[in-house]
């Protein structure tokens, strides 16, 4: 594989005296979509903040395109859990915030707004948007600087289920079109399985990687695909602290990547 876009090794991260993260390492290749899946308190959001340069108080080495993380890196975009649009700016000015005051007039803003389906709302204020629309505007803002790596911190957890599915599809199409690598923090197993190439399942107290799941790269995916269901089952097992040895399906998936595997009820039963 090519040079990784991100190499991360966080040996130790403490919050006051409590250890949040204990030895988490992973790489991300350009173009991958990775989910960090775990219970609350496992330090998954902290890892995102470290990569974004928002948190510098840790032991370890993190490299984005070979450079240490820092705020306002042109390589890294960040989408928060809430849209966090600046209420005093129009939607266009929010999207073009990075270009300075009056950034809404930047021609890229218009393109991005069209891509997220908000072309008619360029001059609206955030208060006029629904939750899903606001998060679409936030995604457009995250993509404005054309980052190679987009970090998303539980980006769809505050919207209803239907909106969430549409936003997930929108995110996938944007990532494909812009060639953006995605690192997504989520506690939604369905979401992780549907979006990701790889799922890094984390356990808490202290945060560690409990296991890694590969998902068949085929897209577009069917949400009801039995292979996704199996990945979800495996993820659930990992979250419950079970060992993965006898469950690892990655070889099986690699052997027949496009065949729809029948649901293996034997392997499902343990999770019920």
């Amino acid at each position: 594989m090519s040079q990784p876009l991100l190499t991360l090794h966080v040996a130790d991260k403490r919050f006051q005296s409590r250890r949040i993260i204990d030895g988490v390492s992973f790489d991300i290749q350009p173009g991958e979509i990775i989910s960090l899946l775990g219970p609350s308190g496992c330090g998954k959001s902290t890892l995102l903040r470290v990569i974004a340069g928002l948190d510098t108080d840790y032991r370890g080495t993190v490299r984005v395109k070979g450079a240490a993380p820092h705020l306002h890196s042109p390589d890294v975009g960040f989408i928060f859990q809430e849209p966090r649009l600046l209420p005093w700016l129009t939607v266009a000015d929010n999207v073009g915030f990075d270009a300075g005051p009056g950034g809404g007039r930047n021609p890229r803003v218009k393109e991005l707004l069209a891509e997220v389906g908000l072309a008619d709302f360029a001059d609206a204020y955030p208060k006029q948007l629904s939750g899903g629309m606001a998060q679409r505007a936030a995604i457009a803002r995250g993509l404005f600087a054309q980052p190679s790596l987009l970090l998303l911190d539980e980006p769809f957890s505050a919207v209803d289920a239907f909106t969430r599915m549409r936003l997930q599809d929108l995110l996938l199409s944007l990532a494909a079109r812009h060639g953006t690598t995605l690192l997504l923090v989520t506690h939604d197993i369905d979401e992780a399985a549907y979006l990701s190439d790889r799922i890094l399942v984390m356990s808490a107290n202290p945060g560690r990687i409990a296991g890694e799941l590969r998902v068949d790269p085929q897209r577009p995916r069917d949400r009801a695909d039995p292979r996704l269901v199996r990945v979800q089952t495996q993820a659930l097992a990992l979250l419950h602290g079970e060992r993965l040895d006898y469950l690892d399906l990655s070889d099986e998936l690699a052997a027949r990547p496009h065949a729809a595997a029948p649901v293996d009820f034997a392997s499902l039963s343990f999770a019920v």
Binding site: A52, L54, L71, H72, F78, F80, E82, R84, L86, P87, W88, L89, F97, D98, P101, Y125, P126, K127
Partner: protein, 283 residues
């Protein structure tokens, strides 16, 4: 499905009609509400006129409204009123501008820096407790009887509301929005200008409005004591020449100017804060 659409069709016109009637009633209600506000003043003014005309109260102490209008016309016609208004407005404008500007700079610094807050805020809190008139003798001693002490006094009056509201506004800025600024690499004055100031703008405008009304108050304090022009001087002049009509006209003009300048700021507030998602924004 068809049942639902039939129901919709049946409801729609009725709803529309109801809405129209309701809307008409609301408009009529608003006009009535505005009219209601005039009832008490009009009755009071009429009663005032009657009471003085019948000689129940001395016209010397309480000139009737008709005489006040005559005085106003006379003052306006001679150009005296205009020059008093210009002099007073200029003082308020200068004092308010200086006080608000200083409050903006110091308030922003104190709001953003814990160290500066620890050094400066207790002092300003103490200075704030000094009654406005207590400054007057000191300012006269230090600065003479020209414009300087008047403008300084007005600036002191305008300073504190702006300062206090701005500091409170900055302290209440949502940490999450500041973090957005951080993600985009904003630091120092860029962070202040692009995040802190717009986010605390609602508080700042509240402060500016109360600062302006205090500026008018302090103007009268300044002009009552040492002035040869201005509306405060008109008040003193009216008292010394025993002309209650002059005093009342000056009071009314001060009230009008205060209201007018506040309305201008209120207009600016509405235009600057259209983005705000608050309860009364839809009215």
């Amino acid at each position: 499905m068809s049942k639902v659409s039939t129901l919709d069709a049946a409801l729609a016109p009725a709803d529309g009609l109801g809405g129209g009637q309701f809307g008409g009633r609301v408009v009529a209600g608003r006009i009535l509400a505005q009219f209601r506000g005039w009832v008490v003043p009009v009755v009071l003014v009429a009663a005032w006129e009657v009471v003085v005309r019948f000689g129940w109260v001395s016209a010397h102490l309480l000139p009737p409204p008709s005489e006040l209008v005559a005085t106003l016309i006379e003052l306006a016609g001679s150009g005296d009123l205009f020059s008093h208004v210009v002099v007073s407005s200029a003082r308020v404008l200068a004092g308010f501008a200086i006080g608000a500007m200083l409050a903006l700079l110091i308030g922003a610094a104190v709001g953003l820096s814990r160290a500066l807050e620890a050094y400066l805020d207790p002092t300003f809190q103490a200075l704030r407790a000094i009654p406005s008139l207590a400054w007057v003798p000191l300012l006269l001693l230090w600065l003479g009887i020209d414009e300087a002490p008047k403008i300084t006094l007005i600036a002191i009056g305008a300073f504190f509301p702006v300062y206090l509201n701005l500091v409170a506004g900055i302290k209440n800025v949502d940490r999450k929005l500041v973090e957005v600024g951080g993600i985009f690499g904003l630091k120092g004055w860029r962070l202040i200008v692009r995040i802190f100031l717009p986010a605390s703008l609602p508080n700042l405008l509240t402060g500016l409005r109360s600062g302006l009304s205090l500026a008018w108050m302090f103007l009268v304090a300044a002009e009552l004591i040492a002035a040869t022009r201005g509306l405060g001087y008109l008040l003193t002049d009216g008292r010394e020449t025993a002309r209650a009509d002059l005093v009342i006209v000056a009071i009314v003009v001060l009230a009008l100017l205060g209201k007018l300048s506040d309305s201008l700021l209120q207009l600016a507030e509405r235009r600057l804060l259209v983005w705000r998602d608050v309860y009364d924004s839809g009215r």
